[in-house]
């Protein structure tokens, strides 16, 4: 029985949507891991947040200064800022200008 174009199309879409995404995610996360390991061999710490995520963390701290976890969040924020200012290589895509504009909380 010859397969119809509809069946073949669905098969291709399914393989792409599942195996394509799974292989992309696996490759990307393993590459990121290798990069982190490589960077940690050269410097003892890594920036922990992307620019967008760090901005959001700051915004959350400013909105919730009395939250039970605010102190911990502040420590995480400051740790990331310190790392960005004291290390040469950054895991996330930080520009020099963005780093210069950061302030500890």
């Amino acid at each position: 029985m010859p397969l119809t174009p509809g069946v073949l199309g669905m098969l291709a879409f399914t393989l792409l949507a599942f195996w394509g995404v799974a292989i992309w995610a696996l490759t990307r996360t393993l590459r990121q891991e290798s990069r982190k390991v490589e960077m940690l061999e050269q410097q003892d710490r890594l920036d922990t947040y992307s620019p967008k995520a760090l901005a959001e963390l700051r915004e959350w701290i400013e909105r919730n200064p009395n939250d039970p976890l605010a102190a911990e969040a502040r420590a995480q924020y400051n740790e990331c800022v310190d790392t960005l200012e004291t290390t040469d290589q950054h895991f996330y895509d930080w520009s020099d200008r963005e780093i210069e504009s950061l302030e500890r909380l």
């Binding site: 119809t4 669905m10 399914t14 799974a22 696996l26 996360t29 393993l30 963390l57 939250d67 039970p68």
Partner: protein, 486 residues
Amino acid sequence: MAESEAKTAREEWGTRFGFLMAMVGAMVGAGNVWRFPYVMGDNGGGAFVLAFLVLLFLLAVPGLMAEVALGRYTNKGVIGAFRDVLGPGGMVGLGVVVLLVNIALMSYYSPLIGWTLYYAAHSLLFTFTSSGFEAEPFMEAFFANSGLMIGLHTLVMASVAGILILGIRRGVERIVVYAVPALVVSLVIMTGYGLTLDGASEGIAFTFGIDWAYLTYSSTWIEALGQALFSTGLGWGIALTVGSYLREYDDVPLGGGVFTAIGESSIGILAALAIFPVVFAVGVEPDAGAGLAFVSLVQVFPEIPLGGILAILFFVGFFIATFTSGLLITEVSVTTVAEETRFDRTQTVLGICGLIWLVGLPSAFSADFLDFADFIFGSWGLPLATLAIILVIGWVMGPERLRVLAVNKNAGIYVGKWWDPVIKYVIPIVMIFIMGYFAVDEFGTPEMIGGMLVIILFPIIGYGIMSVVDRTATETDTAEVTGGDD
């Protein structure tokens, strides 16, 4: 609650690959192999795939991100993580609910692993391709042999204990990094071979044919919902436990969420490609569950060239799929009990595996009891556990707090604000809907009564246990993260 001074620092996954394979190995189980392919073909093929994909990204991916993130954030098992969020006291009993559900789940899953072990052993002996072999009488004789069933259940639990005693890195990780790829390879070879057979295209057409009308049927969405939630193991405490062993700079959302949900579902797709071309090529009626694996497929192997080799690939792969799930389901209880008591890991493993073995005896003795337990826990027990975990994250910890503090920290992908309402509202509503749907559908049956007993008694038992256990701790400790703003 005092921790033994002899206890050493918490273990971590040795490699990123080890963590990823543990997640996928835990989630890929019998359902991916013997249920998903048939459900897909029986519910509109491509239409079902679309519904399933939407629900995976809407519910399973965000839910798994949340569960892994809570584990990584607290670096504790289920009860410890709940205590960090809720503060000591009876409410930590929600963690006990998750534990009880896991023990119950493994009690009937272990005999099922025994079935796959038995068929894997017979595939290696080329029993299925020997002359005069008949699939149905063989299966019936096997299910009627209670002694053999109990023996297999014992062997499975002893093997699980033997591996778990070695720990996370030397035990679990060492197995999953080989087992999961081996499962994929065996299914790929089976697929490649099956597609060369005459009539294989009918199997492809059954599975991937599209009937868009199915997208308008509620039954398609209910099936897709069940598959998206139960197949990914969302909210069973497995992702939380596996995530608690992540290392400092490890990502959560890309590996723990996207890869786990989509990767484990991909194995279901591969199983469909491996099974149905072969089944249709021989003209055997497609089926689901034990009927598919132990009758339909077994009838197929003698009819095709190299059928004996194909049987080995299938049943050894099937055994691997179920066994790795069993390992991680048991690890949920082992991790948290070892943390919460003075017992060391070896004592805890032996105690938990012994308890599961004992509770599992009725399921090993009778396949009917196993079906009964599976229905009760599949319909109400597991959704209850999911609800417990998601409520703790969504309504006590607060999704926004978890997202900014843990999910997006060291993340491989950025998770935006859309995630918060999914965790807080969508997943809990869906879980309540599932429990309600099954309760109405099974109203008045022994299964429904059993399910209601689980829903009522497990939280009461959990609350009672943790009220007593945490009473002294309450006087000295305070809740670490109670009172989220979002």
